[in-house]
């Protein structure tokens, strides 16, 4: 995949088709959705939050290419240090690594410190904005109002 192809995929408007699975156990949250864009490309979006440490969360989006899930982005909470921010916890996103404008592997090793969100609710809002996702408010009626209800 080239950087231009990935940018087109990110920018392509996506709509939620259905919820694939969902569970809430105390503070722990696991919900997943299938999405589709105008080119019939399929996507999977997941929302995860630890019950023990609610600041440990991840909102991720994968695109289905050649019948396999290819991770596009992760918007993560403060779950500990990482290779690029090795001495402190921070909210951070994972992005693909590029070499000569082509994606290196399937991993998301490019880590960027994030200041646009501090909760899983805000991370989901950011994910929807940056990855052009529409229709999530059907599943989270208070999306963008910083007051989400996570019952599935």
């Amino acid at each position: 995949m080239t950087i231009q192809e990935e940018a087109a995929i990110i920018a392509s408007p996506k709509r939620v088709v259905k919820e694939i699975s969902g569970s809430v156990n105390g503070a722990e949250l696991r919900r997943s959705f299938s999405l589709k864009d105008d080119h019939n490309r399929e996507y999977r979006l997941f929302v995860r939050r630890s019950g023990a440490f609610p600041e440990n969360f991840s909102v991720g989006i994968d695109v289905v290419l050649d019948n396999e899930d290819l991770p596009l982005r992760r918007y993560n909470g403060r779950h500990g240090p990482n290779e690029q921010l090795s001495h402190h916890e921070s909210f951070h996103s994972h992005n693909p690594t590029w070499r000569d404008d082509r994606r290196v592997g399937k991993g998301l090793r490019q880590i960027v410190e994030e200041q646009d969100y501090a909760t899983v609710e805000e991370a989901l809002t950011v994910a929807c904005q940056r990855c052009t996702i529409e229709g999530m408010e059907d599943f989270f009626p208070h999306l963008g109002q910083n007051e989400l209800h996570f019952e599935s």
Partner: protein, 251 residues
């Protein structure tokens, strides 16, 4: 608990530290990473007796595995239990943990790190979403049907552009470039590849082989139809018509 961190750090070349995750819970900072660059999460809490500690992942490993699998199959669930057991760990309600003491702390710590790595490797078991063998079938059957014309596979028409790839090339007065497309994005890429080659001044005949036109978005279909010479749809038509087309062009 600082004793435990000091012990581990001594064993690991002073590369271990910690921070307080919650009162009475330290998260261990050590050079063990997931493949996305995040540090593997291991926590230490005081044990029941002096000089004992509990090492635990607080369920973070299986939560992270759920990024890949929404639900665990019975087989994978059994495998995770086996990994925990083989590494001498308890697995209770999705939490890996081990009670450790001074003499075994380093080995228990390495065991939980090893188990996390082994469990996360299960994500590579994720199977492809469908079992269509369109690409493999078209390639192998056309290799036989087009054998008299010595087809070249994965052909790069321009040396300086290794991103422009043709699935099958047949040499002729005007070479024949054949691309197969099952998904919409592969179809569009095939059309754009042909378009770019035309812009580079190449003269050729182009074929796109489509498994099912319903998988292709109409705007893309219209665009690509204006670029390529011929499209065949469905495996039967492809295997019947492509050799006829090639024979006529090469004659």
């Amino acid at each position: 608990m600082i004793d435990a961190i000091a012990l581990l750090s001594g064993e690991l070349n002073q590369r271990v530290s910690s921070f307080e995750k919650r009162p009475g819970v330290l998260q261990i900072v050590a050079p063990f990473y997931h493949d996305d660059g995040d540090m593997q999460e291991v926590f230490v809490t005081p044990g029941e007796f002096s000089n004992t500690w509990v090492l635990s992942d607080y369920g973070m490993t299986l939560l992270r595995l759920s990024y890949t699998f929404d639900n665990l199959s019975e087989g994978r669930d059994a495998l995770i239990k086996k990994i925990a057991s083989e590494n001498g760990l308890d697995l209770v309600d999705g939490v890996l943990r081990v009670v450790s003491k001074r003499e075994s702390l380093f080995f228990d710590f390495m065991a939980i790190q090893r188990a996390i790595t082994q469990i996360m490797a299960l994500k590579f078991q994720k199977s492809r979403r469908t079992t269509s063998s369109f690409y493999e079938d078209v390639r192998s059957e056309l290799a036989v049907a087009l054998a008299p014309w010595k087809p070249q596979f994965d052909y790069h028409p321009l040396h300086e552009r290794d991103d422009l790839v043709i699935d099958i090339q047949i040499s002729a007065r005007r070479p024949i470039f054949i691309c197969a497309a099952r998904e919409d994005h592969r179809y569009l890429r095939a059309g754009l590849t042909c378009s770019q080659l035309i812009q580079h001044g190449l003269s050729f005949r182009s074929l796109i082989l489509v498994e099912d036109e319903k998988a292709i978005a109409l705007p893309n279909w219209r665009t690509v139809t204006n670029i390529v010479d011929k499209q065949y749809i469905g495996k039967d038509e492809i295997l019947r018509e492509v050799p006829i087309f090639v024979k006529r062009e090469v004659a």
